[in-house]
């Protein structure tokens, strides 16, 4: 239960950090909050020879809610995002999903970008990034200068705890795009114990027309595949039989596997059922003008998301 020895580096700039990563290659891991990495080290499921701590780098601790999109620097903790009033107003979906992450104490240390780079298929933020078509900014020290690129969510997640990032790349920021006008959202998940990783979860958006009728929708699933899965739920939204149509669409779109926590069949049923519940809340929000949303959020979310949180732990 103690980590294997490692050499510790605390670079003071992005340049120093990326030079270190370039030099150390796959011997190094980046640590920011450590809330997912340190348990892996304690169990010795991972034993990197070097740890590169990015908390000493000035200029990564920033939040930018602009025009509804939210950009987040690499050392921003989940709790800071949740406390930020501008973020709450700009991106309530991101806030609601973040409230599901583990417990408040974990969120005091865990970082938004760290959750994305860790790429746990049971985590909330990768699903949010995938749903919204967001991206991360990765930088590397190559040929004597900093090279930066934007990696879209669709190209980022490669498998459980695996991304397509190169070993010399450092995630310095993530961008969560704004919700379109007339769009409602909801997050639903189920875990056996409060704060655990979800057995299955869904992050959903639905967009309505001027008459309040749904015209399009997307849902992203956690704990249902090795990476977040995004499903176009548009075809499941039509007519009066919407609920059954949606359930069947989701159940046939997902291919979860059995594990120690749940059977594949149960996970599939759970994901489809959570989607039907999430759609009700998302539609109510989509049909509510923005100024009245806060009140609706409180009313419809009271039994679940408002006070609970489940997600990244263990």
């Amino acid at each position: 239960m103690k980590p294997a020895p490692f050499a510790y580096h605390r670079p003071g700039s992005v340049e120093d950090a990326t030079r270190l990563l370039a030099e150390l290659g796959d011997e190094a891991k980046v640590v920011a909050g450590g809330q997912s990495l340190v348990p892996l080290l304690n169990f010795r499921l991972a034993a990197p020879a070097h740890l590169v701590d990015v908390n000493g780098i000035a200029g990564l601790d920033w939040l930018d809610p602009a025009d509804g999109a939210v950009a987040v620097g690499a050392t921003v903790r989940h709790s800071r995002l949740l406390r930020d009033r501008e973020v709450a107003a700009a991106h309530p979906l991101l806030v609601e999903a973040t409230e599901w992450i583990a417990h408040p104490v974990i969120r005091n240390r865990g970082t938004v970008c760290g959750s994305l780079a860790h790429a746990d298929p049971a985590a909330e933020l990768p699903a949010v990034l995938a749903l919204l078509g967001g991206s991360v900014e990765a930088v590397a020290w190559r040929g004597g200068s900093l090279a930066s690129r934007r990696v879209p969510a669709a190209e980022l997640f490669a498998g459980p705890l695996q991304t397509t990032l190169e070993v010399d790349e450092l995630v310095v920021a993530a961008t969560f795009p704004a919700l379109a006008a007339g769009t409602g959202w909801a997050v639903e998940e189920l875990a056996r114990r409060h704060g655990d990783y979800a057995l299955a979860g869904v992050v959903l958006t639905v967009t309505v027309d001027g008459d309040g009728e749904p015209v399009s929708g997307r849902a992203a699933y956690l704990s249902c595949a090795p990476t977040p899965v995004v499903v176009d739920i548009g075809p499941g939204l039509g007519d009066g039989a919407a609920a059954n149509g949606l359930y069947d669409l989701v159940a046939s779109s997902l291919d979860p596997t059995d594990d120690i926590h749940a059977t594949a069949a149960y996970r599939r049923h759970l994901a489809a059922t959570l989607t039907v519940r999430a759609l009700d809340r998302a539609l109510a929000r989509a049909r509510t003008p923005q100024l009245e949303r806060a009140a609706v959020s409180d009313a419809v979310a009271a039994p679940t998301a408002a006070s609970s949180d489940a997600g990244a732990e263990r």
Binding site: M1, K2, P3, A4, P5, F6, A7, Y8, H9, R10, P11, G12, S13, D16, R19, L20, V31, G34, Q35, V38, P39, L41, N42, F43, A49, H50, L51, D53, N55, S79, A102, H103, P104, V105, I106, N108, R109, H194, G195, S307, S308, D309, E313, R314
Partner: protein
């Protein structure tokens, strides 16, 4: 580069200086030393309990710059220079139990006591931030910590009582 000229190696010792309960303390520790272990082994502050060592039980909760964190998921070297509060810092200056500790004793908020330091620190932070917490807030704040004795009802009562005692003081 701002790194030292010599590449660090896994067996290097790092000087870590922290202010624990208002007292400046330091230790020479390897990078892999968990904050929980530095407090217990190097600083001999054994009030911080170590349960699961992977962030699930919350027994090792301490306050870092006033915010509760899991000391078993934090390397000591990463919090060099920080201000830390442990359960040893909760007593009154005259050595009597502080209001949070008194409340847990009065309301039977503990039995075996193993998880108690974590709950006391969560409570300390909660009532500092929210002097009259409702049960929802209390349960949300405590939700990440495990107690295998009490069934939690008396812990929630203890927190309400701790808030009362703290308010009486001010």
């Amino acid at each position: 580069m701002s790194e030292s000229p010599r590449t660090p190696n896994p067996h290097d010792l790092h000087e870590v200086v922290v202010t624990v309960n208002g007292v400046t303390r330091s230790a020479q520790v390897p990078a892999r030393r968990l904050l929980s272990d530095m407090l217990r082994h190097d600083l001999r502050l054994t009030g911080t309990h170590v349960g699961c060592e992977h962030g699930v039980c919350g027994a090792c909760t301490v306050l870092l710059e006033g915010e509760p964190i899991r000391s078993c998921l934090t390397f000591a070297v990463m919090v060099d220079g920080a201000r830390i509060t442990t359960v040893e810092g909760l007593a009154d200056p005259d050595g009597e139990l502080g209001p949070v500790q008194r409340a847990f004793r009065e309301c039977h908020g503990l039995q075996c006591g193993f998880c108690t330091p974590g709950f006391l620190l969560l409570t300390t932070e909660l009532i500092a931030r929210s002097p009259e917490p409702d049960d929802g807030e209390i349960r949300d704040a405590l939700g990440g910590n495990l107690c295998r004795c009490t069934g939690y009802v008396n812990i929630v009562r203890s927190v309400r009582r701790a808030a009362e005692l703290a308010r009486e003081r001010t």
